[in-house]
């Protein structure tokens, strides 16, 4: 049944842009981009059990690296994409060190503070980021001679990236690393006594999660073609956290589902405006009270009965 749903969803994603207006295609592309960031956070939080409220900062770093280098530096896209990943990987590795000392709400606050600091840098360092005016006219790349300027073409590019990231994440989770991540989450002391270098795996979980945030940012910049500090404030980090937890943290497809609820539904339910957010907030609270394992955890339980 799972494969059926997957095939159906895949088919939908392939044909959907044919029947959508440009704005609809843009939103669907945004869903793919945010899902990539949420997959990263799911690795850090869902599998390795390390809470991070800094994912938006990494999306921002990736977006600024790409935006700055492709406009002011006139670099081609791919090197900036790689650099966006690498710089977030490195910063994420460093941000992992506090997790070796503190956990839970303390870690949440350290990462939260980090996110706000990065946001302040985006806003204030005008020579680098152009401050609140942002960087505009970020070019869209071309691939093997195909121009990706059109909204539909760029959507397929985002989708291809999502597939690539998903496969990589799937491979990682099925590898001994994925097992070690879960071991770090469930029982770090026992893991340590079994030879699992919990320090290194914790740092890796942070770095890889952050790196995927960077990839998401590297796609975000050419998608919106405009990068300013506002989207990368704490709000997006909280939103990504909600996506992961609502979809089902530690479930592979959790981020996909969570991003649907957080990115696509608000657009479809636009007429409801503020009421949608209120409904969303109530949904989050009800889920946490009764099914803290998220939508997929709930589905899992219903199917087993």
């Amino acid at each position: 049944m799972g494969i059926g749903i997957l095939a159906l969803a895949g088919a939908f994603l392939l044909v959907a842009p044919l029947g959508l207006k440009p704005y609809g295609i843009f939103i669907l592309s945004m869903w793919a981009v945010m899902t990539i960031a949420a997959i990263g956070l799911n690795l850090t939080l869902g599998y390795a059990g390390q809470i991070s409220l800094a994912q938006a900062a990494f999306v921002g770093i990736g977006a600024y690296v790409t935006a700055w280098l492709t406009t002011k530096g006139a670099w081609p896209f791919w090197p900036t994409y790689a650099l966006g990943f690498a710089s977030c990987f490195a910063v994420g590795w460093i941000l992992g060190y506090p997790a070796l000392r503190v956990q839970h709400h303390y870690l949440a606050f350290v990462t939260l503070a980090f996110n706000t600091l990065v946001y302040l840098v985006f806003r204030n360092e005008e020579w680098l980021t152009n401050g609140i005016y942002g960087i505009s006219n970020v070019p869209r790349p071309s691939l093997f001679g195909f121009s990706l300027k059109g909204g539909r073409e760029f959507y397929y590019f985002c989708l291809a990236n999502l597939v690539f990231v998903s496969l990589a994440a799937w491979w990682l989770i099925r590898s001994p690393w994925g097992r070690a991540f879960v071991a770090v989450r469930e029982n770090p002391i026992r893991a340590l006594s079994l030879g699992v270098d919990t320090r290194r795996y914790t740092l890796m979980a942070f770095a890889i999660g952050a790196g995927l945030g960077g990839i998401s940012g590297a796609l975000y910049a050419p998608l919106t073609q405009f990068v300013d500090p506002t989207p990368f404030a704490l709000g997006l980090s909280l939103n990504l956290l909600l996506m992961v937890v609502l979809g089902g943290s530690g479930y592979f497809f959790g981020p996909f589902l969570g991003a649907i609820v957080a990115v696509l539904l608000p657009e479809w339910l636009r007429f409801a405006q503020g009421y949608y957010l209120m409904g969303y907030a109530v949904l989050v609270m009800v889920m946490m009270a009764f099914w803290p394992t998220g939508l997929l955890g709930l589905a899992d339980r219903l199917l087993k009965k």
């Binding site: 469930e186 029982n187 026992r190 893991a191 340590l192 006594s193 530690g250």
Partner: protein
């Protein structure tokens, strides 16, 4: 005979309380050494200091003559020292098989090869053998959290032997296990010892279990060794009786 583990003047204090007070002993190859003592006599603290879970305040630990004092538990484990904990420590959301493979995966290859290679092949076979040995085959694909207490305890011990350790330190393996399972466990431990010549140190409260399993026993009270010898010698030592029952 080779000395596998050498502990010299090991000391650990928490604030003003001395939990381990200058303990020295040797463990010979393929020996099963028991450590007994009343509650709070410092047995688990001693284990934690030997294994790097706690930093000892003073003293020296050697493995095959090599200084390993205060080494990180994961590095020590990769040198061939494994352990179990007083309280059950398994990974409830991994399957029984995944628990076992996890216990062996860090002992082969580099960290990178564990990501890009296919390093599970040899481990699957080893896990299969271990499942058979501890009679857990029928549970291999269950989540470990769903097993009965006794089965989880067997899994816990099986994980400690997954990597073929040179030395295994078991903290109360018999605690909370029912009599049938207990006989099974003791027989399995004896079998591993006989087949592979593995060396054990066992902390235990269950006297019957420890007397039947061990070649030699240390008695700890208030952080010091007060007696040692064969099970028969220890059983009749007046100092041991006094430590357990108080001064008559």
């Amino acid at each position: 005979m080779n000395t596998v583990l050498q502990v010299r003047d090991l000391r650990k204090s928490f604030g003003g309380i001395v939990a381990v007070d200058g303990v020295s002993f040797d463990v010979e190859e393929s020996e099963i050494l028991g450590i007994i003592g009343p509650n709070g006599s410092g047995k688990s603290t001693l284990f934690n200091c030997i294994l790097g879970q706690l930093q000892p305040s003073a003293g020296d630990v050697r493995l095959d003559g090599r200084a390993v004092t205060g080494m990180r538990p994961c590095d020590l484990n990769r040198l061939g020292v494994s352990r179990t904990f007083q309280l059950l420590q398994i990974f409830p959301h991994l399957t029984v098989r995944a628990n076992l493979i996890l216990a062996g995966q860090e002992h082969q290859g580099s960290m990178l090869s564990r990501l890009v290679g296919r390093p599970d092949a040899g481990l699957s076979a080893a896990a299969e053998r271990m499942l058979g040995f501890f009679r857990l085959e029928h549970l291999a694909d269950e989540d470990a959290g769903g097993l009965s207490y006794g089965q989880q305890k067997l899994l816990d011990v099986a994980m400690a032997f997954m990597a073929g350790p040179r030395l295994a330190l078991l903290d109360e393996p018999a605690g909370g296990v029912n009599p049938t399972m207990l006989a099974n466990l003791r027989e399995r431990l004896k079998a591993i010892n006989a087949e592979h010549g593995s060396t054990f140190v066992v902390i235990e409260h269950n006297m019957e279990f420890v007397m039947a399993l061990c070649d030699r026993i240390l008695v700890l009270a208030e952080g010091r060794i007060i007696a040692q010898g064969t099970p028969a010698e220890v059983r009749s030592d007046p100092k041991v009786i006094e430590a357990y029952l108080g001064r008559g």
